[in-house]
Amino acid sequence: MPRMMTTLSATGALGHEPIHRDSFFEGIKQPLDFIGADAGSGDSGPFFLGADAPMNPREWEEHDLELLLCAARERKIPMIIGSAGGAGTTRGVDDYIQIIRELTARHRLEPFRLARITSEVPLDYLRERMQTEQIKPLGAATPLTPELLDRTSRVVAMMGVEPYFKAFDLGADVVIAGRSCDDAIYASLPLRAGFPKGLSFHLGKTLECASLVGTPSMAKETIVGRITDEYVELEPMHPAQRCTPESVAGHSLYERAHPYRQAYPGGVLDTGGTTYEQVSERATRYWGSQFVEDAEYRVKLEGAGLVGFRALTIGAVRDPIAIDSLDWVLDAVRQRTREQYSQLMEGPGQDYQIVFHQYGKNGVMGPLEPVKQSLAHEICIVTEVVARTQEIADLVARFTLYRLLFPTFAGQKATAGGIAMLRDEVLQGQPSYRWTVDHLLPIADPLALFPITIEEIGA
């Protein structure tokens, strides 16, 4: 009997929507060696990192953590949570640890060792590094500059498997980690046990989104993964779902730039030569995945900074004559606003920005919209204003709304109002943040940016 490790993934975004329980309870009947969950994503935009704001309702995070923690402690197997809180900030990690403490007390769990791994990178550390070397872009347009850092509120680094190794070396039973490569969550324990690197990372890659790897597509259902020295096998726990060679290979495409090369700290997983095979009605097995080591160990940096404060208005135009002239009308509104509020502007006019989202025209695709002539009989205009202060944002948004109420355009018949306002009010959105850092940082020691502490919890 070849050696095997078994794990499960119940969610690809802990707390983002509660885990579905039935398939989870099926999953924990398996002979599990550990339980993992990824809590993070950059897909929700830069706000959560920049503002250090929770991505999910605490109740849902508690719901998911309770299921996972109780199952793991009952079986005395490790539990690993990466990218705590969504953005993986220190506050996110500590919020989860607080939930774990409360759950441990509530369920009177036996004592266990909890590892806390953080991933925020001090801005001064990056300033210092930049004095002697160039920090190269990953997705960003340019290398990191002091100006970009000046506009950055917070940076996290994405950890690889090594901080997890260290946590287990220190005897951790439960690991709550900051920003993490999703796949490292599931790859770390198999790798530490000596399973092949390519298979371990590929296990992580296919498990990190839970049931999205199966067919038909489902979210928040549990998938069980098994790794041996020869292959990985995936089996969904929802009775109506299957893992097929197409669904597993197809999942490699999801949310990634390249279909069969995925970069991690320290190397690249190449699944170009992977073979997938259906081994039972619902399980698929694969092998042949290779991990190609990099010469240099680099981690991805994610950083976000405050742009300004946001005000929104919502209204719609139904008048076909106005719709024909809408671009012209909106340009005129923008122009009038500039004239009226030029005294608010400092410097090169960046004190406030006005964006008219024209739903029904090109509100979704913007400059990429191939339909140039809208056929819509009504167009919703969401006006988004971002300014240096909330007061300026509110003022400018209100002004644009009233300019839209009384527009002037060719062929105009109606003179009593040009926009149907959803409400005559200005909505305050969350402050506006921007991704500022999307770069790669070489580090000599894979643990360098990820401080680890261990504490005993329970009883």
């Binding site: 950059g42 197409e246 279909p259 300004g308 400059p367 191939p370």
Partner: protein, 110 residues
């Protein structure tokens, strides 16, 4: 004249999603290798076509890759606006696949 089928009739999945903050990625996935291969052989879906459909420069096409094990074609484009920045209206980048749906593919036994 050769009959055509719109791509959405031939593909199982056509989708878009962020690939990091600065790119979104387009996936065209077919049910089986035969359909994938047949569409590929028509040579209709090319970098040039994507450039024209989205009105972008070639330099904005970060990846254009065929992926036979997944019966898929994957295209990654640089976003005109970084995800969530002022002016962006698709934070997840999940509604950017629309121009692909109606690509006419020569399909004689339509």
């Amino acid at each position: 004249m050769t009959a055509t089928q719109p791509l959405h009739r031939l593909a199982k999945t056509i989708r878009s999603k962020n690939a990091g903050a600065n790119h979104f990625t387009l996936d065209i996935i077919f049910d089986n290798f035969e359909t994938y291969e047949r569409v590929r052989e028509t040579d209709v879906i090319t970098r040039d076509l994507i450039r024209d459909l989205y009105g972008v420069e070639d330099t904005q096409i970060a990846q254009f890759v065929h992926y036979p094990p997944g019966n898929a074609i994957k295209i990654t484009l640089r976003r005109p606006i970084t995800s969530g920045d002022v002016g962006d209206s698709d934070v997840y980048g999940c509604q950017q696949y629309i121009p692909l749906l109606t690509i006419p593919i020569p399909w004689d036994d339509a």
